[in-house]
């Protein structure tokens, strides 16, 4: 009776089980699936296949935006565009390496005088293009056009020319998804470049703000201070700029300051991102770790550095 849909459907039911039963089944299946998905990574391959199936759609969906932004380029000669692209990538790569200098000067003065430890400066990076930002306004995610095939894996840090953007939370065959440091589920261990104070910068779910919780009133912190990644938690490479303090407020009677910082990376404007594939902070770096703990102990509460490693792992990336 397939051919007579028009007539048949006037009657109330579907051809399958009654709606209420289907609904209960769907409810049970969804809830089971969600709990299962959250508790372990077994579904990752399935997600990978489905995401790869819909990848062309994603790519097509990002075309209008790309066309608008590269409209100017098309007015130029094609060769110019090509050269420009090549130079920009090269420039990005170089700036990505250079940006550690500010942090390193301060760090060197501090650490090198204490111990004779030196750090390896070079990180290997992969240039990737930002395909899309999250269509869900309540999540701060970006989609990158490089995936497992280009040896991108979950947990790798993503930076741009000006600082840390976030980390990879899902790697698919052709693309990957990164969570930005501004996502409300994300915290990044940072240190104050000026004083070496260790703390955590938490996302707020807004595109351009981080919050620094649990800093006491007598903390030495000023507007304009630069926060760099501390490397604690071993998710992010140490020494990359993360954010600048924009506002410090204190409510009378409150134990902690309310501090806002603006990420230095252009999180929702940039078109390219660098994925850092090697870290310069190996797990066992005997000299550096005690030094990092020693200096903040002077000005921060003792629990701040201790909690940093836990905070840096967002929910979705929990392994």
């Amino acid at each position: 009776m397939d051919g007579f849909d028009h007539d048949e459907s006037g009657a109330s039911g579907e051809s399958g089980p009654p709606p209420l039963i289907s609904m209960v089944l769907a409810l049970a299946a969804s809830v089971g699936l969600m709990m299962f998905d959250r508790s372990q990574d077994t579904l990752q391959p399935a997600r990978n296949v489905m995401a790869s199936l819909t990848y062309p759609l994603d790519a097509v969906a990002s075309v209008p935006g790309e066309m608008a932004s590269s409209f100017d380029n098309y007015l130029q000669r094609e060769r110019l565009t090509e050269d420009n692209q090549k130079l920009r990538e090269e420039n990005l790569l170089l700036r990505g390496r250079l940006q550690k200098l500010a942090a390193l000067q301060a760090e060197n003065a501090r650490i090198r005088s204490l111990l004779q430890s030196s750090r390896q400066l070079q990180d290997d990076v992969i240039i990737s293009e930002v395909l899309a930002t999250s269509p869900d306004p309540y999540r701060q995610l970006i989609k990158l056009n490089k995936g497992l095939r280009e040896s991108i894996h979950v947990g790798q840090a993503v930076i741009d020319a000006n600082g840390i953007m976030g980390q990879i939370v899902q790697a698919h065959s052709f693309h990957s998804i990164a969570i930005l440091i501004t996502d409300a589920n994300h915290g990044i261990p940072v240190e104050l470049n000026r004083t070496g104070l260790q703390t955590i910068a938490q996302g707020l779910g807004k595109s351009n703000q981080l919050s620094l919780p649990f800093l006491t009133v007598n903390t030495d912190i000023r507007e304009g201070d630069l926060l760099v990644s501390s490397g604690l938690g071993e998710r992010y490479p140490a020494g990359y700029p993360v954010a600048r303090i924009t506002r410090i407020a204190h409510q009378a009677g409150d134990e902690f300051l309310s501090i806002r910082a603006q990420p230095t990376a252009s999180l929702n404007r940039g078109r390219e991102a660098l994925v850092v594939i090697s870290r310069n902070t190996p797990p066992a770096e005997p000299g550096a770790q005690p030094a990092e703990h020693a200096s903040p102990a002077l000005d921060a509460g003792p629990e701040t550095p201790a909690s940093a490693p836990d905070m840096s792992v967002p929910d979705d990336a929990a392994s």
Partner: protein, 166 residues
């Protein structure tokens, strides 16, 4: 036989792909907050127009794809979409008596149910949720319903409510 099968599903699959595309289209943040749930209304349309093909099962499977695209927990959109379709099925008898523009008001509970489940799961999984803004997509979805129905009816040849009495 085979051709019959294809004829029945082609418009459904095509329209769902288009809806998915609209769902993924990058929009400025403020606009994105009010983005109509295209995937949801397309499924609701097929639940009404082709009850033996569209419906809760189709909605649930479609939800999995939406989850894969949006990097949400598997099952979140499946649950939301099947609930929307369930509400639609329950309202079907009522919908038949009204013209399309008024149907959008009647279907508001279905769209609201969809948004509510998304909102609720977001809350449970610890994402930030601005309560007031969550109302916007349900309203915008209801507003776009007549246009979307017109477009789907025109391209697919199916009617949202088959007129068995005519």
């Amino acid at each position: 036989m085979n051709l019959d099968w294809t004829q029945g599903w082609l418009p459904i699959v095509t329209s769902l792909i288009v809806a998915l595309f609209l769902q993924l289209l990058p929009l400025p943040e403020t606009l994105s907050m009010a983005r109509p749930a295209f995937f949801c209304i397309t499924l609701v349309f097929w639940t009404l127009a082709q009850p033996d093909k569209g419906g809760i099962l189709l909605a649930w499977i479609g939800g999995l794809f939406l989850d894969a695209c949006l990097a949400t927990p598997f099952g979140q959109h499946g649950l939301a979409l099947s609930l929307a379709c369930f509400v639609t099925i329950s309202l079907r008898g009522l919908l038949r008596d009204f013209p399309t523009p008024q149907q959008s008001m009647l279907l508001l509970p279905a769209f609201a149910a969809y948004e509510f489940v998304l909102f609720w799961v977001d809350g449970v999984t610890g994402r930030p949720v601005g309560v007031l803004w969550r109302v916007l997509p349900a309203l915008s979805t209801a507003m776009i319903w007549p246009l979307w129905v017109l477009a789907l009816e025109f391209t697919s040849g199916y009617r949202v409510i088959p007129r068995h009495s005519d």
